[in-house]
Symmetry: C2
Subunit: 125 residues, 2 copies
Amino acid sequence: MLRKVALAEKLAGIHEHWSPKIAGELNGQHVKLVKVQGDFVWHHHETADELFLVLRGELTMHYREEGGPEQVLLIAPGEFVIVPRNMEHRPSAEHEVEILLFEPAGTLNTGNVTGPLTADPAALI
Amino acid sequence: MLRKVALAEKLAGIHEHWSPKIAGELNGQHVKLVKVQGDFVWHHHETADELFLVLRGELTMHYREEGGPEQVLLIAPGEFVIVPRNMEHRPSAEHEVEILLFEPAGTLNTGNVTGPLTADPAALI
């Protein structure tokens, strides 16, 4: 039987920041939901492009292009950005933001940098 | 430079029903936007799972599981469904619906059935 997923319902079950939860899987990719607030770490993904679709709040995406200076992009609800593989990036948010992520299954949230913010890439909601 | 995509802005440029337009590409997958109204054709995709995220309106997804009877799922804004490869399905909508699709690049909207509703799988917006 086909089952639908209600984003709001799934998001209501997320109580931790920076810890993406898998809401769907297709073609080897994961649809994840995450709540974020504060500053994340600089990182990149070697083999994964990553889509951030903002559902609520405003996300700030800091990024650097091949050794260039830091740049900043603000992403509002109903907007998405695709961060290509190998681009250094660091999301941040002054107030809580709800995001839908689309990325290859198994992608680590902290990419090449493991540390206290690294989350289980297989966590379901 | 990273560029963000505003869903509403892209959707405002779509004036045809059942004709998905590519709004983003990552990891061999396309993010597409489409407006639909009325009845689509029964079809399946042999090698593609397909995600339908409803942005506005209510989508009716008719589907059949391996020779079983027709079943129906209503999908409201903020809800998504993943139709797995090889499942026969037929979307329909009484009133206009705006949808975000995630699917492998190159996926034909009518899957195994080409006809007057078949759209260019490479159309950008």
